[in-house]
C-alpha cells in the first residue's frame, strides 16, 4: 500500500517531511518542529511525520462523530490507513476523567489539566506514532475544545495556549458550526435528555436546563469564533445535511491529500447516518 501523499499548499502547514528547501524555524529546529506551535514536547522526534492530522471540531450536537465515521470509511476505501483520537480516550487517564466527571467534585483547573494529560498521552502514544507511519489521524475534537471549555470557566486564554504550545499543529482543522438551539434539538433527540456537563451546569448559569444549555453552548461558540480567527479554522455550516457537510469535508481533504475523486457512498453499515 502506498503511504498517503501530502501536497504542499500555501495555506497548509508544512507536512514535516525532510526537504532541501524547507526553512528552519526561528528556534533552530529542523522543519519537523514547524508542525508544532512552539517548542515541541521533550523527548519527541519531530522528523518523519509523513502522515496528516485532520481535526474536526464543533460543540456537542454538531455532527462531528458522524462525519468522522463516514470520513474514516471513505479514506479507507481510498487506501489510506486511519487512526482516530478523541477526548478521554487515553489509557493513562481516560477512565479517571470519567470518574471525576461522574463525581462532579472536581474543580475547574484540575479538570482542565486532567484533560490536558489525556490529550498529551494520546498525542505521544497514538497520534505521533501513527503520523510517523504515514497514517491519517482524524481527531474528534482537539486542543481547541479543551481551550474553549476552560476559557469559559475563567481560565486565561494565554495560560491555556501556553500549555498547548508544545502540541502538534493540525494540517487541517474543520469547525462544524451550529446554533446552540439546533445542537439542543439534536442532543435531546439522541439521548432524550441533556447531560450535566454539556449544559454547563457546573457554572450555575440557570436552573432551567434548556436555558443553561443555550447559554453555555453560546459561550463555547464565542470562544470558537475567537479560536477560528487565531488558528485559521475551515468553518463549515454544521446545520446542513450529513451528506452535504460530508461532501465539503471530502473536497477539502481530497485536495490536501491529493485524492482525485471525491465520490463516496456509505456502505450498508453506515447508510443510516446518511441523511
Amino acid at each position: 500500500m502506498k503511504p498517503p501523499r501530502a501536497q504542499s499548499k500555501p495555506d497548509v502547514p508544512p507536512n514535516g517531511r525532510p526537504s532541501k528547501h524547507a526553512k528552519k524555524s526561528k528556534n533552530g529546529h529542523a522543519n519537523g518542529a514547524a508542525r508544532f506551535y512552539g517548542i515541541p514536547m521533550p523527548g519527541v522526534r519531530t522528523e518523519d511525520l509523513s502522515g496528516s492530522l485532520i481535526v474536526v471540531e464543533g460543540t456537542d450536537g454538531s455532527g462531528r462523530s458522524t462525519q468522522i465515521s463516514l470520513l474514516t470509511e471513505w479514506l479507507e476505501s481510498e487506501g489510506f490507513a486511519v487512526q482516530t483520537m478523541g477526548l478521554r480516550r487515553s489509557f493513562l487517564v481516560g477512565e479517571d476523567i470519567d470518574a471525576l466527571l461522574a463525581e462532579n467534585a472536581v474543580t475547574r483547573m484540575t479538570l482542565a489539566l486532567m484533560y490536558g494529560t489525556d490529550f498529551f498521552d494520546q498525542l505521544e502514544r497514538r497520534i505521533l506514532p501513527a503520523l510517523r507511519s504515514g497514517l491519517i489521524v482524524l481527531a474528534d475534537r482537539y486542543i481547541f475544545t479543551l481551550i474553549a471549555r476552560a476559557a469559559v470557566r475563567g481560565i486565561g486564554r494565554d495560560y491555556l495556549h501556553g500549555i498547548y504550545e508544545i502540541a502538534l499543529r493540525p494540517n487541517l482543522t474543520f469547525w462544524l458550526n451550529v446554533r446552540p438551539e439546533v445542537a439542543f434539538d439534536r442532543e435531546f433527540k439522541k439521548s432524550q435528555t441533556i447531560s450535566y456537563w454539556e449544559s454547563g451546569r457546573d457554572m450555575s448559569l440557570s436552573n432551567d436546563l434548556f436555558q443553561s444549555f443555550i447559554r453555555y453552548q453560546s459561550m463555547i461558540k464565542r470562544e470558537f469564533e475567537y479560536l477560528s480567527k487565531r488558528h485559521g479554522f475551515i468553518e463549515l455550516d454544521g446545520e446542513g445535511s450529513v451528506s452535504e457537510v460530508n461532501r465539503v469535508l471530502r473536497r477539502r481533504i481530497a485536495s490536501h491529500l491529493g485524492i482525485r475523486s471525491t465520490h463516496y457512498k456509505p456502505s450498508h453499515a453506515l447508510a443510516h447516518l446518511w441523511r
Partner: protein, 244 residues
Amino acid sequence: MATTTPDILSVPQPAPQKTAAAKREYPGALVVVEGIDGSGKSTQLYLLKRWLEIGGYRIHFTEWNSSPLVKSATRRGKQRRLLTPTTFSMLHAADFADRCERQILPLLHGGYLVLADRYIYTAFARDAARGCSPHWLRNLYSFAPVPDITFYFRAPLDVAVNRIVAGRPKLKYYEAGMDLGISLDRAESFRIFQERILSNYDQMIETDHFVLMDGTVRVNKLQKLMRQLLGERVDLRQFAPKKK
C-alpha cells in the same frame, strides 16, 4: 493585644514586611520547604509543624503529590511506566491544582498558616531535569499563590544521596530518573538525576527568593534558625490562639 506567642519562641518578632503583605489578597500565609531528597527539609518542616501545633496555631500541612483524585492515574502511570516527561508533568500539575483549589487557596483565604512540603519549585527543578521547557513549566504553574517564605534546604549531593540510598531497599523507577535512560544502574541514575535537580534548584535561589538553609547543620540548631527566620518574615501572632 489579645494574641500571644508560645514561650519556646525565644526570638524577637519584628513587624512583617509590608511589601509582602500588601501583595497578598488573603489573610493567610504560605510557608514552603524545598530541596532534593535527603536534604533534611521534611524533618525540619515536621519540627516546625509540631512547634506550631503545640502552640495552638491555625496551621495546615500539605504535601506534594497527595491528592486522592489523581492517585489512581499516577499509580497506573508509574507502575506500567507509561509516563513521558510531558504527561508526568501534566499529571503532577493536575494533582497540585486539586490541592491548590480545594485546600491551599481556601485555607489562605480563611487565614491559615499553610505549610507545604515541596511546592511548584519541585516541578520546576525535577521536570526541567526531565527535559520540559522551563518557560512551559512556569506557565503551567502560574496559577499557584506565591509563598511568603521558601526555605531551600541544601546538602552536598553525596550527603543527600547517601541518606536516601542507605534508608531505602530499592529506588523507584521514576524516583531514580530511570525514564531518562541516563544509566542502567539505579543508584547511578538517581545520583545523576539528583545532581541535575540540585543544579536547577540552585538557579532559583535568586529568582525565587529562596532562603538558603544548610542541610548539614545539626537538626536542632537548624530548627531554631528556621523558627527565627519564619518569625522575621511572617507575623505569627495573627495565627496564634486567641486568649480571652
